[in-house]
Subunit: 353 residues, 2 copies
């Protein structure tokens, strides 16, 4: 049986209404709802509406601010620093992105550091916006402890993702959005929710042994890509997002799920490059198209039907889901139905009949 | 028998003299010599003086310019574009680094693109200089085709490295310098020179099969770290270094070793961050020290004697080799002796007796 599908537009409306009813301003609630549905559209269920219950729980627990606005602490040359004032991460992230885009129009580059933020959804949410403005975005964020340093066994670094968006013309734009761990922690959280086993190269348990059990992985340590290289990348991201901005770093970044005493204090970096300072955008986009066609037309491994550009699968999924709706697992539907009912809303109104 | 060791200072002098005798200006020859000895000091033999013969061969073949100077094509806001004028890569790289450092003092960030450059040695050469000025450096370069896209079998992307330098105070500074392939192509070149086998997760042969033979790997395709993630990272680096700057990209970047018709036309990106726009440098360095101590004092895997920071092994090796001299394999000694004799110089004068 195919899972029931839900209308993206209606999901956004319902999610925005839930956040509004927790006391978040409607404008901010809309941003967060868009960020979550954006992830579901691209098939990144681990960062989609399945996160709404935990966001709401933290708001209700007073661990995310309802009334503040992100604050510009410093703006100087091509740089800025934003205090997220413990707002919902997507609200803070979008504010920082807009600041970085503004700076890039002035000086060619905008480099914005952010402190006192929260989990800000998928990085691709910001990359997609920058791409649509003809800009290149590099976005980094730190995250709660999940990976041990090479040689260590206790988690210290987050899965600290790096994402890059680069606009093409007619071909699909380049959109890389990757955790520096072999897999994203969210995927293990989802596997735990679904009761599924995980591949054994994803994580070690708390004693340093490989495990296929998501619960053991979550109390152990994720593995970085490329061994010491991924360890180094994750640390570089933490040093910029945490140390340079004044946000938390290492195990100081609090868990979205397990810490009920402190705000997360996540840090982000948004770096925007205005292509037009280097060459006319249409020329760049034409070159991108040519590049992508060259990559895709190369000889393929036996059994491979197509060479893909980073982000291409997700952008196809987005088109498909915009047309046919978003499917959710029964677990997620149940959880969201329950959450909505608390706020006197009917999640099933988003169902496509 | 321990290999003979050579005096770093004298190696620099002899190497600079060799380059000078090929027609390079003495100032530029000195920079390239420093860059190569820098790599040998850090134990990165694949990027050390073992590269001198190929550099010289390309100069003598007229594929690297002797007389030009790198040219500033554009400077606007926080960005600049440099045309390397097909100079030796280390000369171009250092010019770009200095430009990026200058911009960062003005606007907080300096973002410099480079085209028409050559192999520029290890990224750590530049990172070490930025660190010594209390600056953060992110440096990217593209490189000749070596890695197939995920799903492909023909090399398209270079091993495109990323390097980051972040200054600490009393603790060792953070210095990550990594290829986006599982290993650097230079290490396979060196294994081929030494006649040694390579691990089988480093590369595939031209038919897509794993291989332990360096020669087959060099005519096949290196593997990226983390599968599609490393593929994405290498492509992001190529798009910025190649497409944004107007340098070559993909297979358009010519081989240092195998192409005797065209200049390499390598592209680089230098991004410098002036920490002081965010917080006082001494505070940042104190926080770095605390961070590094936290990482290093964590619990270790059985059999691990110490948790290391990226760059720590290399910086220790540097101290050791500055004191005791640099050892070379017999192959490399022979090759360098031969090269020096062509320019009426005695390589053995650098030998520590």
């Amino acid at each position: 049986m195919n899972p029931t599908r839900f209308c993206p537009k209606k999901l956004e409306e319902i999610a925005a209404e839930v956040f509004t009813r927790t006391g978040i301003s409607h404008a901010q609630a809309k941003v967060v709802a868009q960020s979550l549905v954006h992830a579901d559209l691209r098939g990144i269920e681990s960062h989609g509406l399945s996160r709404m219950p935990i966001y709401v729980k933290r708001i209700e627990a007073g661990l995310i601010e309802r009334q503040e606005e992100p604050q510009l602490v410093m703006e100087e040359g091509a740089t800025a620093l934003i205090d997220g004032k413990n707002q919902l991460g997507a609200v803070v992230g979008l504010t920082a992105l807009e600041q970085a885009m503004k700076l890039s129009r002035q000086t060619g580059i905008g480099f914005v550091g952010v402190r006192h933020s929260n989990h800000f959804g998928t990085c691709s949410f910001y990359a997609e916006r920058a791409i649509s403005e003809g800009l290149i975005l590099l976005v980094l964020t730190n995250a709660p402890e999940a990976m041990a340093p090479s040689g260590g066994i206790r988690p210290f670094l987050g899965t600290n993702p790096i994402a890059v968006g680069i606009p093409a013309g007619n071909e699909p734009s380049f959109l890389l959005d990757m955790a520096t761990s072999v897999t994203a922690r969210g995927k293990i959280v989802l596997a735990a929710k679904k009761g599924e086993a995980i591949p054994e190269d994803w994580a070690i348990d708390k004693n340093g042994n490989p495990t296929t059990k998501p619960e053991q992985a979550l109390s152990g340590s994720l593995l970085p890509i490329g061994g010491a290289k991924g360890y180094g990348l994750a640390m570089f991201i933490d040093l910029l997002c945490g140390l340079l901005t004044g946000a938390a770093f290492g195990p100081g970044v609090k868990s979205l799920y397990d810490n009920w005493e402190h705000p997360q204090n996540v840090g982000h970096i948004f770096l925007v490059i205005d292509i037009q300072h280097f060459l006319p955008l249409p020329v760049f986009q034409k070159n991108m198209d040519e590049y992508i066609r060259q990559v895709k037309s190369g000889p393929k491994k036996e059994g491979t039907s197509e060479i893909l550009i980073p982000g291409e699968i997700e952008s196809r999924k987005r088109s498909e889901r915009l047309a046919a709706g978003i499917p959710f697992s029964a677990n997620v539907v149940e959880e969201l139905t329950q959450l909505c009912s608390i706020y006197r809303l009917d999640f099933n109104e988003a169902r496509i009949t």
